[in-house]
């Protein structure tokens, strides 16, 4: 289950990277290809960092599942992991469907270098 969900999360980020015309990396970061894919996908797109913590939580929950023996706790962790993967899927889907979605949000970059204010008040 853990590996299946991790593979799903990776495939979501692969689609994002491919949509940007790049070949998805096969490298890993901190032991996870998912984190390397996120880093690749966020290069030049600061708004993609809005899903950075979701990716890190996925990696964290995978690690926890690797350590946990108690069945009821494992079940709970798997549920949470599945919801994290679902969240990543929804987030990336939105960004693939609507160009520029979230570009002016929490992890945005200034969209223009020379601003209207500079032209008007310069």
């Amino acid at each position: 289950m853990r590996q299946q969900l991790l593979a799903q999360a990776e495939s979501v980020l692969e689609e994002w990277v491919k949509a940007r015309g790049e070949a998805p990396t096969t490298e890993t970061s901190e032991g996870f290809r998912l984190l390397a894919l996120h880093r690749q996908g966020a290069r030049g797109v600061p708004s993609f960092n809005a899903c950075r913590e979701t990716c890190r939580e996925i990696a964290y929950h995978c690690n926890l599942l690797g350590l946990e023996q108690e069945q009821s706790i494992r079940k709970h962790r798997e549920t949470m992991l599945a919801m994290l993967v679902e969240h990543l899927k929804l987030f990336v889907r939105g960004k693939l469907e609507v160009e520029g979605l979230g570009e002016f949000c929490c992890s945005s970059r200034p969209l223009r270098n020379e601003t209207e204010t500079e032209r008007t008040h310069g």
Binding site: P46, N49, A50, C51, E53, T54, R56, E57, Y60, H61, H76, T79, M80, M83, L84, E86, H87, L90, F91, R93, G94, E97, V98, L101, G102, E103, F104, C105, C106, S107, S108, P110, L111, R112, T115, E116, T117, E118, H121, G122
Partner: protein
């Protein structure tokens, strides 16, 4: 302490404004509202003109520093907090931003804000540093013992990391990856914080009007995750997060037929109830999500 409520707290987040003031007063923390404050630019202005947004936020800080003599500005809204912190960062590191702010401030006829004149903090910092868990624990009259809470911090409280230099400084400081100040305060009030991995996940708030379906699905997943984690209540610390969770909870049921039962309350409302303040004074009746159903047993 200069208080910058921001536009949302005079509208949809009125209950957050009210509960913040009432809780502060009960704990002996004074707030002095920034005079003639303006909108920080919200999420919209920087899309059109980032430096204009820097100016708008700088004006608020200028009034606090130069007209009120304040050294700290407290902004309870994540969007306002984020924008003031971003303006602070831009003015400290970007000469063109300083030039634009200088020019517009002169035209507007007020003193130009200089980076470092004030420190901007969030309502969580205000209560955590101003009161602290030990004192709060002593003041609790109605312990929230048994209340299972998922703490949702949203995005603007921690992202992007570089505008929050005081965070991630080790023990005692707030974390951008695993924020915990709200957890700490509510635990001191007796609540049981559930393990909630989506505490900073995107809710699609900025495109709630342009792409409502994406927002609804993102919020629905957050609500479901909170319920799966065992939470009865999602505690919020931002008016945009709060109204987004409430509205899309309703929309998810209407549009997708997906009903969730978890209730949304501002963390200040939860703390107020723990302090023995009446729910009406805390504006609980103004929430769309009926928190009284869950909170009745704590009164």
């Amino acid at each position: 302490m200069a208080y910058y409520p921001g536009c949302a707290l005079e509208g949809t987040g009125h209950a957050y404004n009210q509960s913040t003031k009432v809780v502060g007063s009960a704990l002996g923390l004074e707030l002095d509202e920034v005079k003639d404050w303006n909108c920080c630019g919200a999420m919209e202005v920087k899309n059109v003109d980032p430096k204009l947004q820097t100016y708008l936020s700088s004006r608020v800080m200028s009034i606090a520093a130069n007209e009120m003599g304040a050294g700290v500005v407290m902004a309870p809204c994540n969007g306002c907090y984020h924008n003031l912190k971003k303006a602070e960062h831009d003015l400290a590191h970007d000469a063109p931003s300083r030039e634009v702010v200088e020019r517009i401030s002169k035209k507007a006829g007020h003193a130009t804000y200089r980076a470092g004149q004030v420190e901007t903090i969030h309502a969580l910092d205000w209560l955590k540093d101003g009161v602290g868990e030990d004192e709060l624990r002593r003041r609790v009259r109605n312990s929230l013992k048994g209340l299972k809470v998922a703490n949702y911090y949203g995005c603007m409280y921690t992202r992007p990391r570089h505008i929050f230099p005081e965070k991630d400084r080790g023990p005692g400081s707030e974390s951008t990856s695993q924020p915990h100040f709200m957890d700490d305060l509510l635990a001191a009030a007796g609540a049981q914080n559930v393990d909630f991995p989506l505490k900073t996940a995107c809710c699609g708030g900025a495109h709630t009007l342009s792409d409502s379906d994406t927002s609804t699905r993102l919020v629905l997943n957050i609500l479901r995750a909170a319920e799966a984690a065992g939470a009865e209540v999602i505690a919020t610390e931002c008016p945009t997060c709060h109204s987004g969770l409430e509205m899309h909870q309703v929309r998810a049921e209407k549009k997708l037929g997906e009903k969730t039962r978890v209730k949304m309350l501002y963390f200040t409302q939860l703390l107020g109830i723990a302090l023995g303040i009446s729910p009406r004074k805390l504006g609980v009746h103004e929430n769309v999500s009926d928190g009284m159903e869950v909170m009745q047993k704590f009164l």
